[in-house]
Each structure stands twice: as structure tokens, then as C-alpha cells.
Symmetry: C2
Subunit: 605 residues, 2 copies
């Protein structure tokens, strides 16, 4: 039943040899990995203008130089990540680069920030997409948490179906969004060229008295939140079809060009049309309305924008499982994150991401706006660390032409470091949490690692010296009456060894007497030992008895406890049995060094 | 750690021989078992007046004849339950009486209604007590579910500590409440005699045009909700000190006298003072204010009323576990309800009652008023059935003087039947649920019974013929590498039998080759069988392999699967291991007829 539902949702299992077919072409990879970056076109320009209008309408011309700075940063990031891709063709997220060049702790800091960040990405995009829907249909407002969680559930299932299927699913809306925005920009430019602007727009270079450096920096850093998806490609190189590094590098360039073009276009049009942010309509929707009027094309653009906000989460679904796999391989996360599921994805990572982001949405009741700065810091810390790592790498290895590469990464590092600091200074109220939970995440990584190391030490054996040694065997069978289940257990026990004792735990003399008589009458060839339990506990007398047996025989014998377990025909019947056997099993496993063998007794009705 | 907290909350375990000390004296029993009945003094009169004022102020004189009718019913119920106590000295709730005289299904109907009713009692009283608190401190209004659930938690813990301790705990407030109400009534009567009434009061016998029979019946049935706790004593006879039936009968009479006196007093004073129900102040609080003014005594009476409403729930805590024990003994409920806990109470029943009533409070957000009629029906159905059962008993056995007893029970039966019908007719909107869930509860009882019967049939053996039979043994050890845990398992397996095979499930050729080499080098004297899993499943190849082994050897050998399990030092470490072994264990237990033996490997760090 469960497995049928699973087949229906996830699809049939795939052979390990099918892994190559699960790799992505450039076209699909661009859709999957750039949805996060491209979705920021929907809000990047708006973020800049929101800061600037605080200094008055005349200040909005600053959006142009600021957009230029963001574009320059984008170019630097793309170039330096391109270098990383070629340097680490096995997949070089910030975690790998930082770990290899700056040491393990720095790597864990980068990896930890990214993991947390991917969870935030999913929560924030699911909520943002939901906001777009509830703005259109206000009656749905009370169900926003439900909608966001449903979207997360759908994304989780799609990603469990495998990378290529999720790519096919999201490629169409992503490319439609790109086409729509390009059409919007071209039509807008043509309209501006032929008809001019509707509104008076402040001249470029107009002096505005109350524009401070702080304000400009804040506007710049807000604009930089448009760059948060850029690192995804370098993390996901193993998902590309061969030659994977070349395909990844080309995809990254393509993403840079698209993002740059769309961001420039929207910012220019916003300036030309003299658009300012507005509670009721986003900047993109105002541009679309000015260009096409409130008609069919306008609503198509709005709809695609809502969809792209949801799909931004999909980038995290590609990157998180790969990163958690790498951390698990290095023993900083549970082994479970290394298991490829039926459809060859790292299912546990996908499910973990889905569950945690859904919890986050529920905890914030869908109001995740305040998480955005936190999320930006979480990206720019690994950005900085990964550039720093690359600098050190060039300096150490000194390959041909390393100076240029070193300079590119140095500029990148300094810029991202500056942006990180600007974020921390200008938005400390939203960002301080990172300083609380990043150390916690790193502490967890370290503890897991130490535990796995210790376990490996305890498990290691010397192949030439440590050989199996054969001992005797004593089997203890707790019995509660003379039944067919007891008959089964005793038969099994006697097949293993001659040292079998049955143990009966009695609460009152009358029932003890009855049991002894019945046992004698049955005479199964096994001694019955009666333990009197004045406190009606089954566990304590049994543990004490095992102590005695251990003291007598543990040098010569393995001790085995046989516990019968009823296997019922229907699940609900299980509640009517086995509580005692589960209890005994749990206590014995944790407190004693004895083997606990469960003898099934299948009930047929 | 867990066991320390348990000791702190519940106290040290008690010996089975201490059971006699856990029995109740009459004084304590009266407190425990009558708190439900006595608490209805706080709302009984009000319920009658609420119905009557609908026909105008002049109609309130009808409260006197209605109260007389309720008193008569109380007398009948007390007399007939007194007869039941002597007839069933082992504890004769409606379940036993109905089962013995009217057949099993009728008994289950009575028992099921009562069980559900006790859950409703706890939910309703906890909410009513909370309402009294939040009326006094409106700022707590948002926390009412939390308060009610906390009270339920406290009552659950107190009752887990044992019957006598809970009795000592609640005896003081119960008797204080009785004293306070008696003082109130006496002072009120003295005041009325000396000073007369403040308000004009309608003359007894005044004709009121719009008083219909339906209205009077509705008022009467509402007043009857004051009688809901009367059956508790007859259920709880086993909790009394010897001679238990005599003590129980005396306690029942005492309860009847107290309840009758208090109910009469409050109703009379309400009439004399011309009090009508009022959103802001209850009838009792108006009487207290008129008598003593809004001073210290007034607030003491109000506080004690809130406390008694909470403690009404305690009656259910005494009766529910005993009734569920009886049903479990007859195999209509899981055996777990028969286990006496550390403090000799039926802990599982107590916990079950607490959890279900807390869920009910949470589901209704603390607004459980609508459950009151349902709860009254749930009492009057078993009232009726138990009287009917007694009638048949007298008729069958015909002891000396049976005619009088027969008549008493017949009058009782007819009255309670009438009240049940009145409830169903006048409050169908609140009561219909009973017709939905009572059949469900009975169906569950029947299914549980049938399952236990079938199990008993399958378990029964013939002592002279069914003897243990000895077979050979094949042990299968799934291994994932060459480690100390594997060494342990192989040593253990070889100690049991020579037929040991190690099974390795490999996902790719490279790791399989490595494993085979290492195994050969180690050479533990056990053959390694490699299963190739193209779909990366561990379960399916293993199940298939076991099929093959079963097919070859199941006639001659018991098959045992050894599964190593890591026992970690700290609980959180458990999440880092054992997922696979738990999975294997669950699948094998449910799908195969093999013994699963868990070999513990204790990690020390």
C-alpha cells in the first residue's frame, strides 16, 4: 500500500547504471540552476529604488550608477566562479574551495552558511510566490501557510522524481519568464524611443542634498540580493552531462548574460518611466502596465512572475542535496545524506530541505520577508570565503597566467567582503541571528565528525590477528504461559543449544503455582525458573536474573534472550499485543551486552 | 533520568501486598466519588431557571416543583443503586449489571457510554473550572486551553500517584465546599426569615400562560444533569476498605443526603431572593452576594466553587480505570488496561483518560458547553440499562422481598428512560453524535474481543501432544564491511551453528571487488555471498536471498538473521547509525518467518 503510493508519486526505481541519463543538458541546467538568480529580476530593481526614494524622488537617478555597480559585481562573480569551475571540476562549491585552501573550519563555515541559506531560500521563495497569489486573490489570504507548504510539498515530490524530470517540469515556465521579460524590455525601449517618457524624470547628476554614502551603500547592498543564486552552478557540476566543467562554465556565462540584460533593462525602463515603488504594484508590474496597458500580456507577465518566485526554490533543491552529500562524505553530516534514493537523487537531503523549510514557513506564519537580509548574508559569507580560497590557491600553485586570475578573485573577494560588512552594518537587526546559529551548526558538524571518527577507531580490526572466537551459548526464554508461541520459542532455543532456561515472572502465588503445575505437566525438557515480582515490574527482575546468569557464564557463553513477538494480520491489531516485548527489548539492548532474538509468531486472523 | 523524573512525579513503586492500604475509608471515598455529583450544586438550579425564564419572570416559581421532582428522582436512584451495590459487591457498574442480566451487547452499550462519558466529564469540568478562573481574571482568557490542559495534567499525575493520595489531596477542598454551601444556605435561610425577601417573588401556583409541558420537561431534564455523578460509587466498590459493600452503601446514602440538602437549599434561596440567571454572575454567586455582600466570604465561596468544578473531573479518574479494567478483563479492551502501575492504580487507563480529554479540550478550544447534553445522555442510557438489568435479576432470582426491590427499580427505570427520551427530543442537535459514536465504540469492542478470541485459539496447545521439536540452524549475517561489529556477529553466529553465511550487498563492482579481497585476507572461516543490487535497495536482494535459503533448508533448519546494532553512548548519536538495521528488522519481521537476532555493539565514546 505504502509502496504503491510511493511508486505513484516518485515513479519506478532506477538502476544505478542509469545515473548518466540523469545528467543535465545545458538548456535544462540553465533552467534549474538559474531560476533563483533570474527570479531576482522580479524584485532587484525595486529593492534599490525602495532605499533611494527615502531621500526623495530626485534621488532615483542614482539607481543607474548603482545598477552599474551591481552589474560590475555580477561580472566579477561570474568570472571568478568560472575559474572555480575549471579548478574544481568535481564540483567546487564554497565548501570545497574553502576547505581545500583555508582549512576545515572555514570550509564548514562556508558549507554551514550555504545549507542554512538553501533552507531559507525555499522558505522565502515559497512565501513570496504565495504573496503574489494572495495579492491576486485576497480571499486566499487566510490559507497562505497552507499554500506555501503545499508548494514546498510539490517541489519536494518533483525533486524526488529525479533531477531531469524536475528540470523538464520547470524549464518551460523559466524560459517563458525570460521571453516575457525580454519582450517587455524591447517593447518598453521601443515605446520610450518613439513616444518619450510620460513623467518628468530627475536629470542624471542632479545633486540631492540628503543622499548619504550610507544610503547609497544600503541601496547597493539591497541590489546585490539579486546575485544570490550565482553560486549554484559551481556546486552542481556533477549534475551536468560530460564534459561537465565546460558545460557548467557555459551555463554560468549564459546565466550571467541573461541576468545582466534583464536587470539592466528593467532598471533603465524604471528610470525612463519615472517609476517609484508602491505598496499596491511592483516595479515590474508598473512597467508592464505602462508598456502594454492592463491587458492580456500584463496578466501573463504577472502570472509568470509568481511562478518564477516559486521556482526560485528549485535551485536550492538542486544544490542542497549535493552539498549535504559532500558534507556527509566527509563525515560532518549523518551517513543517511549519502544514500541515493530510488530515482538516484539524494532523497534524504531533499526531504530534509522540504521539511525544514516548511517548518520555517509555519513558524513565521508565511511572513518570511525579515529572513531576506539573513539569507543575503548567508550567501555573501561563502562568496567571500570561496574567493579568498581561490586567491590562496593561485598564489600557492602559480599556474600560467595566475596573476590575472589572482587579481580577478581579489577584486571579487574585496567586493563581496564589503557587501557582507554593509549588510551586517545596515541590517544588523535582521542579521544578528546568523552569529547565533552559524556557530551552533558548526558545533553540530564537529560533534558528528568526532563521533564518526571515534566509531571508526572502535570498529577497526587487525585482519591478521582479530579472528572469530567460538564460545558456548546460553538461551533465556521469558514465558508468560504455556502457549504455541512459547512452544515455538522453546523449539528454536533447544535447536541452538542445550543450555536453555525458561523464566516466568509471577505477581502472585496463586498464578505462580498454576504455572508451575502446567509446566510440569507439559514437560518440554527445559527448566522453568520463577521470579517473584513484588512490584509487578517485568523488567527489573529480568535484568537482575540476567546479571546472575552473566556473572556465572559470560566468560564461557554468549547469552541470548528470546522474545516472542506477535505479527498480526492487520496493523490495528498490533496495539493489542507486544507492548511488553518491545519494552523488554529496548531495556535489554540499552543496558545489557546480550543478544536479543525476536521469534515471530504470525497470527492468521 | 526518565526514571528519576517519574519517581519525583509519581513516587516510589508500591508492593502488590500494599494494595489493601490503597483502599479508601468512607470519608475519603465520599470526597473522591461525590465531587462530580456535589459540583452540580454549582450549576443545577441555574440550569432549571435558565429554561424557565424563557417563559417570563413569573414562571420561576416552577423551579420548586421541578426541584422536588429532581429530588424524588435522586431518592429513587440512590435507593436503586444501593440495591445494586449489595447485589454486586465486586463492583457493579452499569456494565456488569447490564451484561449479566441483559446480555453482552447491552453491557457493552452501557460500558461504552460510561467510558465516553468519563472522558467528556473530565473535558467539561476542566473547561468549566477554567471559565470560572478566566471570569475572575479576564487577562487569562487567551490561555484557557493551556489552563484546562494543565489542570488535566495535574489530575492525571495525582491519580497516577494512587487512589489514597489523590483522595487526601482533594478531600479538603471538597469538604470545605460542602461546609461553605451549608453555611451559605443556613445564613441565607436565617436572613430570609428575619428580614424577608428584597424582591417581589411570583406566588407559587400563579398561572403562566406560555408555560408548556415541553418547557417544564426541558427544565426538569436540565435539572437532572445535577445527578450525573451518582453511579460512580457502585462502579468503585473494589476501591473501598472492607466491608466494602457496606461502606459503599453508606457513602452513597451520605452523598444522596448532602446533594439533596444542598440542591434544595440553593433552589429555595434562589426562589426566595427572586434570583434569575444572569450572564455576569452565576445563581450561587448572586445568592452569596445577597447573603454576605461582596466581601471575604463571598470570594471564598466563589474560589471553592471553581475548585470543585475542577475536582468533579476526579470522579471520572476513579471510575474510568476500574471500568476499563473490567472491559479489558473480558477482552473488550487491550490487555494494557489491566496492568497495575507502580502505585497500584491502573495507570494506562488513567493516562488514556487524561490524553483523550485533553485532546477534546484542545479540539473544542475549551468551549465544551455543547458537550453537556451529550454527556447527560451518556449517563442516563447506562442508568436506564442498569435499572432494567436489576428488574430482570429480581424477577429471575426472586429473593425474599423482591417485589419491593422490583418496584423501586421499575420506577427508577421508567424515570431515567423518560429523561433519556426528553434529552434526545429536546436537545437532539447536541445529542445526535452519540448515535454515531456509540455504535463505533461497540464495534471496536467487538473487533478487539474477536481478535483476542482468535489469538487464544491459535495459541492453545495440547499439553500431552505438542512438544518442542529440535531442528538444525542456519544463520545469515548481513555485513557491510570488515569491522569489529562484524567480528562480534560472526563469532556469535559460529558459536550457534556451523551453517553460517555472511551476505554482502554491493552497489558497484569496484567496492564489491574490494570487499571480496578484504574478506579473503581476513578469512574468518565463513563464506561470503555477494548480492548485487542494481537498484541500491538493501531490503529486496536480502529478502530474495532469504527466500532461496528458506526454499533449501526451511524443512530441516531454523533460519536466523543476525543484525548488528550500534548502542551509542548519547541519545543524539543514535540518529547517526542503525537506520538500515531498523529497516531490515522491520521488513523481515513482517514479511518472513525467520528469527531476527540483534547483536549489540556498544560504542564507548
Amino acid at each position: 500500500m505504502v509502496s504503491k503510493v510511493k511508486r505513484l508519486l516518485i515513479g519506478r526505481p532506477r538502476k544505478s547504471t542509469e545515473l548518466e541519463q540523469e545528467k543535465l543538458t545545458k538548456v535544462k541546467a540553465l533552467a534549474v540552476l538559474s531560476s533563483d538568480a533570474l527570479s531576482s529580476v522580479a524584485y532587484g530593481t525595486e529593492q534599490i529604488l525602495l532605499v533611494l526614494v527615502a531621500a526623495g524622488f530626485t534621488a532615483i537617478w542614482y539607481s543607474l550608477p548603482i545598477a552599474l555597480a551591481v552589474l560590475a559585481l555580477l561580472a566579477i562573480l561570474i568570472l571568478s566562479y568560472r575559474q572555480t569551475i575549471y579548478a574544481y571540476p568535481q564540483g567546487g562549491g564554497a565548501y570545497i574551495v574553502a576547505k581545500n585552501n583555508l582549512g576545515v573550519s572555514t570550509g564548514l563555515l562556508a558549507g554551514g552558511s550555504l545549507l542554512v541559506d538553501y533552507i531559507l531560500t525555499v522558505a522565502v521563495s515559497a512565501s513570496a510566490g504565495t504573496d503574489a497569489i494572495t495579492s491576486a486573490f485576497p480571499s486566499l489570504h487566510n490559507h497562505s501557510v497552507g499554500i506555501a507548504v503545499t508548494v514546498i510539498l510539490i517541489l519536494t515530490i518533483i525533486n524526488l522524481r529525479g533531477v531531469t524530470e524536475s528540470a523538464s517540469f520547470i524549464a518551460i515556465p523559466v524560459y517563458l519568464f525570460v521571453v516575457a521579460i525580454v519582450v517587455l524590455i524591447l517593447s518598453g525601449v521601443v515605446k520610450y524611443m518613439t513616444q518619450g517618457s510620460h513623467a518628468a524624470v530627475p536629470e542624471i547628476g542632479t545633486a540631492v542634498s540628503n543622499v548619504s554614502l550610507f544610503l547609497l551603500l544600503k541601496a547597493f547592498s539591497s541590489g546585490c540580493s539579486a546575485l544570490t543564486g550565482v553560486e549554484a552552478v559551481s556546486n552542481a557540476i556533477p549534475n551536468f552531462k560530460a564534459p561537465s566543467e565546460k558545460n557548467a562554465a557555459k551555463t554560468l556565462m549564459m546565466m550571467g548574460v541573461l541576468l545582466g540584460f534583464m536587470f539592466t533593462g528593467i532598471t533603465l525602463l524604471a528610470y525612463w518611466y519615472g517609476i517609484t515603488p508602491n505598496e499596491k504594484a511592483t516595479v515590474v508590474s508598473q512597467i508592464a502596465e505602462s508598456t502594454f496597458g492592463r491587458g492580456g500580456i500584463y496578466f501573463i507577465i504577472q502570472g509568470l512572475t509568481a511562478v518564477i518566485l516559486f521556482l526560485a526554490a528549485n535551485t536550492a533543491y538542486s544544490a542542497f542535496p549535493l552539498l549535504s552529500f559532500m558534507l556527509a562524505k566527509d563525515k560532518y553530516l549523518p551517513h543517511a545524506f549519502m544514500i541515493r534514493g530510488d530515482r538516484l537523487g539524494f532523497s534524504n537531503g531533499i526531504i530534509f530541505l522540504g521539511v525544514l523549510s516548511a517548518l520555517l514557513v509555519a513558524a513565521f506564519h508565511g511572513h518570511t520577508e525579515n529572513l531576506i537580509p539573513l539569507y543575503a548574508v548567508g550567501v555573501f559569507i561563502p562568496f567571500t570565503l570561496s574567493q579568498l580560497g581561490m586567491m590562496i590557491r593561485w598564489y600557492r600553485l602559480k599556474p600560467s597566467g595566475w596573476r590575472t586570475k589572482f587579481i580577478i578573485n581579489t577584486i571579487g573577494m574585496l567586493t563581496t567582503l564589503t557587501i557582507t560588512l554593509i549588510f551586517i552594518i545596515t541590517k544588523f537587526a535582521n542579521v544578528w541571528m546568523a552569529f547565533l546559529f552559524l556557530p551552533i551548526v558548526m558545533f553540530i558538524f564537529m560533534r558528528i565528525h568526532r563521533h564518526y571518527q571515534n566509531t571508526a577507531d572502535e570498529l577497526r580490526i587487525q585482519l591478521d590477528k582479530d579472528k572469530p572466537c567460538i564460545k558456548g551459548s546460553t538461551v533465556i526464554v521469558p514465558v508468560s504461559g504455556v502457549t504455541r508461541a512459547v512452544l515455538h520459542s522453546i523449539s528454536y532455543a533447544k535447536s541452538l543449544t542445550d543450555n536453555v532456561v525458561a523464566v516466568y515472572i509471577g505477581f502472585d502465588e496463586e498464578e505462580i503455582h498454576k504455572m508451575e503445575q502446567k509446566w510440569e505437566e507439559w514437560n518440554p525438557g527445559v527448566r522453568l525458573i520463577v521470579l517473584r515480582s513484588r512490584y509487578r515490574s517485568i523488567i527489573r527482575p529480568l535484568l537482575k536474573f540476567i546479571d546472575t546468569v552473566e556473572w556465572k557464564t559470560s566468560a564461557t557463553d554468549h547469552i541470548t534472550i528470546l522474545i516472542p513477538q506477535f505479527i498480526t494480520k492487520h496493523w490495528w491489531q498490533a496495539a493489542l499485543h507486544n507492548q511488553t516485548s518491545i519494552l523488554i527489548r529496548t531495556y535489554l539492548m540499552n543496558q545489557k551486552d546480550v543478544v536479543v532474538a525476536t521469534v515471530p509468531f504470525h497470527l492468521h486472523k
